[in-house]
Amino acid sequence: MAAGLLGLCTRRLLAAAATRGIPAARVRWESSSSRAVIAPSAVVGKRGPEPTTRWQEDPDTEDENLYEKNPDSHGYDKDPAVDLWNMRVVFFFGFSIVLVLGSTFVAYLPDYRWSRNLLALAVFAFFQGASPRSLHSVFMFYYPSHHTENCWCVCLSCCVMSSQRDHLDLNAAQIEDRSKRAV
């Protein structure tokens, strides 16, 4: 067992020496008590360099310095004209068109959630017995400067509902239920 362990340690030492590129002593040892044999590995010297000796993941590159031939290079292309136009296109379409116009579009998107909530409030108040005129003035309080399509919707719906309300005979629970279903 000791010979086997010794053989194991020696094999490990030889293997470690081989991987580090240190030439191993070419000796062969045979145990007299067991069948253990220690010999240098057949692949000594055939192993490639360790990864740590090669620090770049991509070592075989031919770097071309775009600034050498074109000091005003923008990094797009070797051809200065194509490079310039590519830069212009990116800045014009990327910044001036998409970012500026796009963010303006997004900023001016109507707040549908707010208008839906306001309409829900108006409908609820209507079913509580508010007159169309008072509902309209409440809405104009929020939008005093101009009429929007939502304002007209509220006005129109209030007018239609007010003409129908007289025909309805609802108690308080039914009014609340209808207003909740309306929102």
């Binding site: 620090w55 990094g75 296109v89 990116v90 379409f93 796009g102 900023a107």
Partner: protein, 459 residues
């Protein structure tokens, strides 16, 4: 929706028919215009969804993801121009074709009305991504990475196919527009438990859930820059999007089936954040950071409250832009030093001060500095998880701290200190690179001013 899909498909003939010196200009221009058109989807007047046809629709959840997808294509094209400059023309065109094909499939995936159609497109996105990783990756490990990527996702999603066919058989329809009105609770049985698992595992692998995340560091690291960008920014969000859609029909099983996955995500976010602190490879650090952020999204989706859904959608958009920007920054280092090892490209602030500013902004948004949308997303998730269980605040708080630690570690290692002797002759930053970073950061900062468009359908 055809106003976005057809121009995107037509980018392929545009690429092949353009002259040699015009391919990048043409494709970048038209992809920017397509992203402008996609902004119109953010106009959501109805409380429900914009129904374009029987096949495509968009709602406040899919519209921001769609805009992110279309915005990312021109950025990917800009980022790829340098490393493809030495390739033959045919290979450049093939590369752009792969990106365009992937873009088309992603647009259709996010807007599909029917779940089987969603599944087919979800699987179809694997093909161009695999080709991009295995053909244009730099090291030999890319083949192994491609295998991991493909087979992890396939193994996770094959049960989903069986589950969807089974549900289609039972209910007659898998249309998203109908499912939301289908209030039938799943009976409590073993088969429905397995149905839940089958439906969710595909998306858990895609997110990825900690434990099923082994494909992500490999794929992200070995992919070329465009592959890394699209993987981190969009493909992970496919998983989140799928989970948000499919959980509507898996109640009430989700309330108890979610526990092990919640625990895995809560623990996994700390584990992956801690792994980030020990990474030497820059891309690997950003990849593990993605796992950590997506674990937050998984927690949010499984908790199933309005605030958690808002946090999940905001975090998906924010992380998409941030991690894509971090990969671009890592690529700018890689193009100069040809190494992903962080300490080999240190002290760059002295040499490239403007790039250091982008590094700072990207790191600050990665650690969710207020008032960025990253913070809004994380805050919503943390608050809703605290409401679900008070103890989660400990794990969430630890994760936020470790996220800040590794983000600052990455920033300080790459930017601060004395630069090494072998990088004092690196090239200055190109306009292309600065424009790329600005095009990532500007939407991120603008969204901080108006975050409601990315808060999803529970806002």
């Amino acid at each position: 929706m055809l106003k976005i899909i057809i121009p995107t498909i037509m980018l392929m003939p545009l690429t092949w028919l353009s002259k040699k010196n015009m391919i990048w200009i043409n494709t970048t221009t038209y992809s920017l215009l397509i992203s402008l058109i996609s902004l119109s989807l953010l106009n959501q007047p109805s409380n429900n969804s914009l129904n374009f046809s029987l096949m495509f629709f968009s709602d406040p959840l899919s519209a921001p993801l769609l805009v992110l997808t279309t915005w990312l294509l021109p950025l990917m094209l800009m980022a790829s121009q340098h490393h493809l400059s030495k390739e033959p023309l045919i290979r450049k065109k093939l590369y752009i074709t792969m990106l365009t094909m992937l873009q088309t499939l992603l647009i259709m995936t996010f807007t599909a009305t029917e779940l089987i159609s969603f599944y087919i497109l979800f699987e179809a996105t694997l093909v161009p991504t695999l080709i991009i990783i295995t053909r244009w990756g730099n090291q030999t490990e890319r083949l192994n990475a491609g295998l991991y990527f493909l087979f992890y996702t396939l193994m996770g999603s094959l049960p989903l196919l069986v589950a969807l066919i089974s549900i289609q058989n039972l209910t007659g329809s898998l249309n998203f527009l109908l499912i939301q009105y289908w209030n039938q609770a799943l009976p409590d049985s073993w088969s429905n438990i397995f149905l839940w698992l089958a439906c969710m595992m595909a998306f858990m692998v895609k997110m990825p859930l900690y434990g099923l995340h082994l494909w992500l560091p490999k794929a992200h690291v070995e992919a070329p820059i465009a592959g890394s960008m699209v993987l981190a920014a969009i493909l992970l969000k496919l998983g989140g999007y799928g989970m948000l859609r499919i959980t509507t029909m898996l109640n009430p099983q989700t309330s108890f089936m979610a526990y092990p996955f919640l625990m895995l995500s809560l623990w996994g976010m700390i584990m992956t954040s801690s792994i980030c602190l020990r990474q030497t490879d820059l891309k690997s650090l950003i990849a593990y950071s993605s796992v950590s952020h997506m674990a937050l999204v998984i927690v949010a989706v499984l908790i199933q409250t309005p605030w958690s859904y808002m946090g999940a959608t905001a975090l998906m958009i924010a992380h998409g832009l941030t991690s894509s920007m971090l990969f671009c920054l890592a690529n700018s280092n890689y193009e100069r030093t040809h190494s992903r090892t962080m300490i080999l490209a240190r002290g760059l602030q002295t040499l490239l001060p403007l790039m250091a500013a982008w590094w700072l902004l990207a790191s600050l948004t990665n650690l969710a500095l207020p008032p960025s949308i990253n913070l809004i997303g994380e805050l919503f998730v943390v608050m809703s998880s605290f409401s679900w269980s008070n103890i989660t605040i400990i794990l969430m708080g630890t994760n936020i701290t470790i996220t800040a630690l590794y983000s600052l570690y990455m920033l300080i290692t790459t930017q601060r200190g004395k630069y090494t002797h072998h990088i004092n002759s690196i090239k200055p930053s190109f306009t292309r690179e600065n424009a790329l970073m600005a095009l990532h950061m500007t939407p991120l900062l603008l969204l901080s001013l108006n975050p409601k468009i990315i808060l999803g359908f529970t806002y």
